[in-house]
């Protein structure tokens, strides 16, 4: 069914499931222990893999001697980069499955063993001897970016896919510049110019489920089957096929439940080791589960960012110009940090009307753990800079921080930095709701002269990768069970619940009759990924159209059987109802009358890609446009925090966070709240507790006793608020919520700290040491 027609039908519907507080459809599996995760996959004859990792940050591999390991008890295969000399990388193909001749960070995979037991595999690792010739290493991207710096990838320009985004002969593996208007003229017009530097640090995803993959290679066919916890099976198949020179049809990827991803499970990680080993185990499947130490030190982190902002404003608080220079720390390989350095950077201009802008964003190699996508895809880091500076500007100009955001914030019909006309803009409503709830303008009660309280707020905007594709099938069997066949990993975000609600609503069947398949690329059709908060919008639209296809077919059948014009019939809760005539028969009765006792399925199908939407049009007159700038929908949010700063210890306690999110339409308010509350806690944990302690490229705090993650005892009072701006092309008006949710938390906290004690922390994380040092510096100045 054409998209527009589907939309018309939908807009006329009264909803029963959509918008309701439905309990999650996956919850029962999970509370009973029945849910099977990638971590749980267990196959007959399965071997266990373990990985030998580099102890040095940068070195040439002189020799690897595996002769003793291969003879160790229980060992079936030992693999090095020489045996499996393939490389991968979505943006730049720079990353070997196992180091080939060079290691570039502490923790890089150098060799792997497959053995009968996990213990045997780990014991064999100790028998591998590697000789390294150490090279000087670079840990700071601000050093690595300099001309003449030693090259971490001397052959960068020769790598496949190293296109125009790289700078040959440097460590810059992605560069993106963009200009709108004339910043210099803008600065000349300004009454005040603000220049500030901010940094946002690398943090770990720390998904509770460790990275886990099982790979099986069928030597006679040259095929792989892969079971793993990932949020993007199809893109992983494509990536793997490209790396190994196979057709994607030779790789089957099955995804059980995923125990959290947050962007951390969307590239080949445990999969890379499992796939390399499986090639050498004569058809036996190999399971690779990373340890927590490996998860913290040898997977991916958030991309650390160093940001310089120069912003010109008029006395009344209107912007005249902003120049932003960002250096992103890629770590040893590009992975998907390239997308972060491009798409993430664009939002450094915030959800504000700024007439003249200039952006220079560079992603730079260092000899550290790889960085990549992390809930927010760069928006979290740049929002830290944008919203901290916004507060600095407001305070200096003597304008209320709420008012300056209301004054400059996007409204419906404003143009984004590429000229895209913005639609479904609930920014101001989020500002109003959050500020009202936190009691903005009412001074905090001060518990003592030592413990000082204050309030702060911050806003954010986040797009979704556009355009991307989703396809789904829906089948209804004779017992009226409905199966939605699609490739949407349930990573914890409630994807399966949303899909079930949309399907039940749009077909007109009870929610309990709907189930959603696990992704299996042999069976389930193409879908880009669970990423960028895209699932509700993209798969939601797709499921809606397929469901309407099914519904139309059912009503046509009913029309034939009942001898009534189908347009006079509707389907509701599995019952065929005639206009004015009441219930005529059940769906089950219809199907058995029509098809008799033999089996029969009704099928619906749909494909969705927003590439032709008029909403995406940029301003063609602008120079240097990038097709990744337009987003089919934009999400907006305001977080407001109240904190208490202990001026003797520097400890910041977050008392309350109010988080208002414009989600378009909440298909399920419960899952929206889950995303918002979860993100606030993740944002708070990232901001106050989490930090890698490094020494010569080695992460010292490589366990969860040393890498502190927030617990129930650190939790503030939280109020999630939902704003519904209704997107004209979203399923039932919905947009998304998962990704932007953490972005505004950090600056809201920092702005509240300023309100409480008048200090400005510009470098994340906000630690008691930094707070105390800033308090001392402030006293020293006699402020």
């Amino acid at each position: 069914m054409p998209f527009q027609e589907a939309r018309r039908e939908m807009s006329e519907m009264k909803t029963q499931y959509v918008g309701a507080r439905i309990s999650r459809v996956d919850a029962q599996d999970k509370v009973t222990g029945n849910a099977v995760y990638g971590f749980d996959v267990d196959l007959p004859g399965m071997l266990y893999g373990a990985t030998l990792r580099s102890p040095v940050p940068h070195a040439r591999i002189v020799e690897i001697d595996v002769s003793k390991a291969i003879k160790a008890p229980g060992v079936r295969a030992v693999v090095t980069g020489k045996d499996f000399p393939f490389t991968y990388g979505g943006a730049v193909k720079d990353q070997p499955f196992l180091a080939i001749d060079r290691v570039r960070y502490v923790g890089e995979a150098v060799a792997a063993v497959a053995a009968e037991t996990e213990l045997a595999a780990y014991e064999a690792l100790q028998k591998i001897r590697v000789r390294y010739e150490e090279l000087p290493a670079l840990f700071d991207p601000r050093e690595a970016v300099k001309e003449g710096a030693l090259l971490i990838h001397p052959a960068l320009a020769q790598y496949r896919r190293a296109g125009h985004d790289i700078v040959p002969g440097t460590n810059i593996c992605t560069i993106r510049t963009y200009r709108l208007g004339d910043v210099e003229a803008g600065f000349a017009e300004a009454d005040e110019i603000f220049e500030d530097e901010f940094s946002a640090h690398a943090v770990s995803h720390t998904t509770l489920e460790l990275h886990a993959a099982v790979a099986q290679y069928f030597p006679m066919k040259g095929n792989y089957t892969l079971w793993s916890s990932t949020d993007r099976p199809y893109l992983m198949v494509r990536e793997l096929a490209d790396a190994l020179n196979l057709s994607p049809s030779h790789i089957r990827h099955i995804v059980p439940y995923v125990g959290g991803s947050f962007g951390g499970k969307n590239t080949l990680i445990a999969e890379a080791v499992a796939v390399a080993l499986a090639r050498f185990t004569e058809g036996k499947p190999v399971k690779v589960v990373f340890s927590r130490q490996e998860e913290l030190t040898a997977t991916q982190t958030r991309v650390a960012a160093f940001m310089k902002l120069k912003t010109g404003v008029k006395k009344d608080g209107t912007f005249t110009a902003r120049k932003a220079e960002i250096i992103w720390d890629s770590g040893a390989y590009v992975s998907n940090a390239s997308g972060v350095a491009i798409r993430g950077s664009y939002t450094v201009f915030g959800p504000y009307r700024i007439p003249n802008i200039e952006l220079i964003s560079r992603l730079v190699y260092t000899n550290k753990e790889i960085s990549g996508s992390y809930r927010g895809f760069g928006t979290t880091q740049v929002t830290w800079a944008c919203e901290s500076q916004m507060d600095i500007i407001a305070r200096k100009l003597g304008i209320d921080p709420l008012e300056i955001r209301m004054k400059n914030g996007y409204v419906e019909g404003d143009r984004y930095i590429n000229g895209q006309v913005l639609h479904s803009v609930g920014l101001k409503e989020t500002l109003e709701k959050a500020s009202r709830e936190i009691g903005w303008g009412e001074t905090s009660t001060q518990p003592s002269t030592i413990k000082r309280r204050g309030k702060g707020l911050a806003v954010t905007l986040k797009g979704t990768p556009t355009p991307t594709s989703s396809t789904c099938f829906i089948k209804v069997n004779q017992d009226t069970d409905v199966t939605v066949i699609c490739t949407v990993p349930e990573t914890g975000g409630g994807q399966r619940t949303i899909i079930s609600q949309v399907a039940a609503e749009a077909i007109g069947v009870p929610l309990a009759s709907v189930s959603v398949t696990n992704p299996d690329t042999l069976i389930t059709p193409y879908n880009d990924a669970v990423a960028g908060s895209r699932s509700t919008y993209h798969m939601g639209n797709c499921v809606l159209m397929a469901a309407q296809d099914v519904r139309r077919k059912i009503l046509e059948l009913a029309g034939e059987v009942l001898q009534i014009e189908p347009s006079r019939l509707t389907l509701s809760e599995g019952k065929i109802i005639e206009q004015g005539g009441g219930e005529r028969l059940t769906l089950k009765a219809l199907l058995s009358q029509r098809f008799g006792p033999t089996g029969m399925e009704i099928l619906g199908e749909a494909h969705f890609n927003p590439s032709h939407s008029a909403l995406l049009a940029a301003n063609p007159g602008l120079k240097g446009l990038d097709s990744r700038m337009s987003s089919i929908f934009w999400m907006f949010a305001t977080h407001a925090a109240e904190v208490e700063v202990d001026t003797e210890t520097g400890v910041v306690k977050v008392l309350r966070v109010v988080a208002a999110h414009d989600v378009g339409r909440a298909i399920n308010p419960v899952t929206c709240e889950q995303q918002i509350e979860g993100s606030v806690l993740m944002g708070l944990s990232n901001t106050l507790f989490e930090e890698f302690k490094m020494e010569k490229g080695r992460i010292l705090n490589d366990s969860l006793s040393d890498y502190k993650v927030l617990t129930t005892l650190d939790m503030p009072e939280m109020t999630p608020l939902i704003v519904e701006s209704t997107h004209a092309e979203g399923p039932f008006g919905a947009k998304g919520v998962g990704e932007p949710a953490a972005a505004a938390t950090a600056p809201a906290i920092a702005n509240a700290i300023f309100d409480a004690v008048g200090i400005r922390i510009k470098d994340l994380p906000i630690t008691p040491e930094k707070v105390l040092a800033a308090l001392k510096a402030k006293e020293g100045k006699g402020c």
Binding site: V31, G74, E123, S705
Partner: protein, 169 residues
């Protein structure tokens, strides 16, 4: 030649007797086998998860004699004669435990990887303090990490069962 099993040279085994979810088990195990390994690998009770293997995340929590224990740190040999409860033991006569029901009702489940440990930790608390209030619940659950950040709804779920006092006391 490949040996069938990688075993320590001494190949010592110990006999353990324990009750898991009301069912008695006797097994010969290697002395270094953890309770977690025994539950997952020998009994195939995979509802008990592992998140670190070093006792930091609480994901592997089970009840031993009613007390929450990190099963990754406890040797199964040390559970000799004990009554062990895992998440699989909570469903009775096909009916969910009130805590399981409450977790579903209150939206306390996201990725679900911590859910078994959270529910068992809460059960241990409510078994000894049926009317536990928010403070006690927060304390009792503080040993289990939830990266999806479901804490608020998890605490609400437990409070709904205990009927205890809300807010910090």
């Amino acid at each position: 030649m490949v040996e069938i099993n990688a075993r320590r040279k001494d190949n010592v085994k110990v006999t353990v007797n324990l009750t898991v979810n009301g069912e008695h088990h006797q097994a010969e195990v290697e002395p270094q086998t953890t309770l977690l390994e025994f539950l997952r690998e020998s009994l195939h009770l995979t509802g008990t998860k592992e998140g670190c293997g070093t006792g930091d995340c609480g994901t592997c929590t089970v009840l031993v004699e009613g007390h929450p224990v990190n099963s990754c740190l406890m040797l199964v040999a040390d559970a000799k004669g004990c009554e062990v409860t895992t998440i699989e033991g909570l469903v009775r006569d096909g009916r969910l435990h009130p805590l399981q029901q409450s977790f579903i009702m209150h939206g306390a489940v996201q990725c679900g990887f911590c859910s078994p440990a959270m529910i068992l930790s809460a059960k241990a608390l409510l078994d000894r303090n049926p009317g536990a209030g928010e403070d006690h619940i927060k304390q009792a659950l503080s040993g289990v990490l939830c990266r999806c950040g479901s804490y608020k709804k998890i605490i609400q779920s437990v409070l709904a069962v205990s009927g205890g006092e809300k807010g910090n006391v």
